[in-house]
Amino acid sequence: MGEEITAIKADRIDTVTSGLIENGVIVIRGGKISAIGTDVKIPSTANIIDARDKTIFPGLVNPCSVVGLSGSPGGEPASNPHYRVADELYPFQDAYRRILQAGFTTLALTPGGNGIAGQGAIVRPIGQTPEGMLITESGLLMIRFEANEKAKKVITDAFESAKKDSASTDPKVKPLVRALQGEIPTLVRCGWPGAALHLLPLLKPYEKMKWVLVAGPENYRIAEKLAKSKIPVIIPAQIDFEQFTRNRINVPKILAEAGVKIACVPIMDNAEGHEDFLRQMAELVKYGLDKETAKKSMTIHPAQMLALDYRLGSLEVGKDANLLILSADPFEVGTKIHQVMLEGKIVYQGP
C-alpha cells in the first residue's frame, strides 16, 4: 500500500513564516507537508480537499498548560526532576476534545510543584493511549521559581551536582543533564518582575540551556532587561491594568516591541480559555500588538520555545501537516474552524 496523499486547494494559505500564499495548494504525504505553493503539481492519487474561499492556518501551539493534570502539589520548593507528566496522561478527557476543536494541535503539559517540578510532556490533545498523545519522548524540564533563599538554593544545588555527574543514568539526574546540555528546553515560571530580577542572574551561568520564562503580566516593567537576556517569554494573552489603576496596558505588545520573543497562552488555562483564545489574541491586536507577531506568538514562537520548530508551528515543506481550515482570517469575529488536521488526518470536522 502506498503512502496516503492529500492535497488542499485553498484561496489563502497563511504560512506564518513565509507570508500569505493566495490560490495555493498544500500537498501532504505520510502526515507531512511535501509541497506548498501556487505552482504545485497535484499527484493523481491524491485525495483532494477543496478549500476555496477558505484560509489555511498552522495548528495552534500552547507551550505551557496544566489542563487535565492532577494539579499542583504546592509545598516547599524541592527538586523532583524524575517526576514525569507522561506517566499521568489520560487522553479521554473532554477538555482535550474541546481544546483540539479550538484549533490547538500541540500542548506542552507541565507539572505543578515548586522548585524543580519535573518533566513536562509535549502532546497532541487526542490519542487512543497515553503514549499515543506524546509528540516526543523527551519533553521539557519545568521549574517554578519564587524569590526566596531556599528556592534559589534548590535550583542551583540541583544543576551544580548534575554538572559533575553528566554520565549519570539516575532518573533524578538525567533530566537535569539533558536540560543542562540544551537537549530539552527548560521552562521557568516566575510571576513577578522583582522575582525575575532575582532569577536572571541565577540562569546566566547555564549558557547551553534553552531557557523559557513563563511570566506574569507585571513583567512588562522589565521588558528591556528581558530583551537583553534573549530569553523568550510565555505570557497570557491579556490586556492588563497598571497596578492599582484602571489604566489598560497591552503587556504582550510592550514585550514584543522591546524585542522579546513572546508566545501567548490563554488567560484561563482550561477548555473555555482555549476556546476564547483567538478572541483574546484579536483584542491584543486591536490594542496595538503587531498582527504578524500575534500570529507567530501562537504558532512558530511556541514551537521554537519547545525546540520543535523543525516539525511544528508553520506551514512549510517537511513539517507535520498540523493545520486549521478557517472560514476567514483567524482574528475576524465569526471566523469558523471548519476542520482541524493533525499530521495529515482530519481530526475535527466542524460546521
Partner: protein, 427 residues
C-alpha cells in the same frame, strides 16, 4: 479621566526614559554631574543653608554650600523656594519591598524593587527603611513559643525597579522578644546568654592554654547560640520591644549584666526612666502619639505623655521616631502611617521637642540606630545622594514631596505621579 490617561502615558514614557537614562549613565565612563540649585538645604548636620547648591557625582554628594560652582555640563534641578533635605529614614516598618509566599530566611533573596509600597515610599520621601522578614514586629521572632530570638532583618533603600542597589545591610540587629509578659522567653534568653558567655570564656581559656597543653580539647559550641555570641561580641545590637517602665528597666539590667548593645522599641513610658536609659546610652524607637492610660496598680508615674520625646532629649537619650502604622498604603491608617512620617515627628515638637532633634529622629539618628549613618541621614559631602525636595516645611501638614532622588537618580517626580500629580495647593 482624560487627564489620567495622559498622565499614565507620561509615566510610561518617563519610565522608559529613566530606564534609558540609567543604562546610558552606567555605560558612560565619566558620569554626568547633577546640581540641585536655589533651595533651602536642611543639612541636619550643619543647620539650614539658604539658597544653597548641592552637587552630585557618582551617586554621592560631592559639594554643598552657597558658593558652589556648577559645572557647565551638569544637569540642573531648580529648587528655588523649595526645601531640600536628606531622604527620610524609617527605623521600623512592617514588610516593605519583600515578596515571597513562604518564610523568608534571607531578605536579600526576596526583595521586590517593584513592590507597590516601594513606589509609595518614594512619594512619601522615605528612602531608607528597616525591614524584617515577617510583617509585624510582634511576630518578628519567627519561631513561636518559647524561643525569644530569631528571624532576619535588613536595611533597604527604595530603589524602585533596581534590585542591585536595594539592599544596604543584612542583618543589622538580632530580633528579640522578651517582655515581662512572656516570662519563659525572657528566662530562656537569659539562660542562653549565660551559656554563650560561658562558652566564650572557655574558648578564651582554651586558646590561651592550647600551645602549652596539646591534649586540651577545644570546647564545643552549643547549638543555636550563634545569635547570642554575636550579641555578646557586640557585633549586632538586639532590638527589644519594651513599652512600659518595668520592661525597659528589665532590658537595661540585661545590658548591665552582659554588656550587649540594645535598641528599645516602643518606649511609651521611657520618660519615667529617661535618666536610666541615658546612663547606658541605649537608643530608642518611639511613637509620640502612642497613648497608654496611667496604671492604677502602680505608685508613682505611669502611662504615656506627649512630652515623652522632649523629656528623653533633655536627659540625653537618642531616639528615632516612627508612626503607629509603620507601612505605606493608600488605605488604612491615613495620617498615622509612613506616608506622613514627618507628621509623627511634628507631634513630638508639639510635645516640647526642638525641631532640629525631631528632624534628626526621622533622618540621621534613625540612620545611626540602624548602623547606616556612614551612608545616609544627612546632606554631607561623601554621603549617598538620597535627597528629597519638598514644597514646604517638612512639619507643615500641607507639604508635599515633589522630587525624590536615591543614589543621585531621580526616582519620583510628583508631576508625573499617577496618584499625586493632580493635587495642587490651588484647589
Amino acid at each position: 479621566m482624560h487627564k489620567h490617561r495622559t498622565n499614565f502615558q507620561f509615566s510610561i514614557c518617563n519610565f522608559l526614559a529613566v530606564l534609558l537614562l540609567c543604562c546610558s549613565a552606567s555605560a558612560a565612563a565619566d558620569e554626568k554631574m547633577t546640581a540641585i540649585k536655589g533651595g533651602d538645604l536642611y543639612t541636619i548636620t550643619s543647620g539650614i543653608i539658604k539658597n544653597g547648591t548641592i552637587l552630585i557625582k557618582d551617586g554621592k554628594i560631592s559639594g554643598i554650600g552657597q558658593n558652589i560652582d556648577v559645572p557647565k555640563n551638569a544637569e540642573v534641578i531648580d529648587a528655588k523656594g523649595k526645601v531640600v533635605m536628606p531622604g527620610l529614614v524609617a527605623a521600623t516598618t512592617w514588610l516593605q519591598g519583600l515578596r515571597s509566599s513562604r518564610e523568608i530566611s534571607k531578605i536579600a533573596d526576596s526583595l521586590d524593587p517593584f513592590d507597590f509600597e516601594v513606589s509609595l515610599a518614594l512619594a512619601s520621601g522615605v528612602t531608607t527603611a528597616f525591614v524584617t522578614a515577617t510583617s509585624s514586629p510582634y511576630r518578628r521572632v519567627q519561631s513561636s513559643g518559647e524561643n525569644p530570638i530569631g528571624g532576619t532583618n535588613a536595611v533597604i533603600k527604595m530603589t524602585y525597579g533596581d534590585l542591585d542597589n536595594m539592599l544596604v545591610k543584612e542583618p543589622v540587629a538580632e530580633n528579640v522578644s522578651i517582655s515581662n509578659q512572656q516570662w519563659l522567653r525572657k528566662t530562656n534568653f537569659l539562660l542562653s546568654l549565660r551559656k554563650a558567655k560561658d562558652y566564650l570564656q572557655k574558648l578564651a581559656e582554651y586558646q590561651k592554654a592550647k600551645d602549652k597543653d596539646k591534649k586540651l580539647e577545644e570546647p564545643k559550641k552549643p547549638a543555636e547560640l550563634d545569635p547570642y555570641i554575636r550579641l555578646l561580641g557586640r557585633q549586632l545590637p538586639a532590638r527589644v520591644q519594651a513599652a512600659t517602665a518595668d520592661d525597659i528597666l528589665a532590658a537595661l539590667e540585661i545590658v548591665d549584666e552582659f554588656g550587649i548593645r540594645i535598641i528599645l522599641e516602643g518606649g511609651i513610658e521611657a520618660w519615667i526612666v529617661a535618666q536610666e536609659i541615658a546612663r547606658r546610652d541605649v537608643p530608642l524607637v518611639i511613637t509620640p502619639r502612642d497613648k497608654q492610660e496611667p496604671r492604677k496598680d502602680i505608685s508613682g508615674p505611669s502611662g504615656s505623655t506627649m512630652e515623652n520625646a522632649a523629656i528623653l532629649k533633655k536627659a540625653g537619650v537618642r531616639f528615632a521616631i516612627v508612626p503607629q502604622g509603620p507601612y505605606f498604603g493608600i488605605g488604612g491608617m491615613a495620617g498615622r502611617d509612613l506616608m506622613v512620617l514627618p507628621m509623627e515627628a511634628a507631634f513630638a515638637v508639639s510635645g516640647g521637642l526642638d525641631e532640629q532633634t525631631a528632624l534628626e529622629a526621622i533622618t540621621l539618628t534613625a540612620a545611626e540606630i540602624l548602623g547606616v549613618a556612614d551612608r545616609v541621614g544627612s546632606l554631607q559631602v561623601g554621603k549617598d545622594a538620597d535627597i528629597i525636595i519638598l514644597d514646604g516645611h517638612p512639619f507643615h501638614y500641607r507639604s508635599f514631596v515633589e522630587l525624590t532622588l536615591i543614589n543621585g537618580k531621580m526616582l519620583y517626580d510628583k508631576k508625573q505621579s499617577t496618584y499625586f500629580s493632580h493635587i495642587t495647593h490651588d484647589n
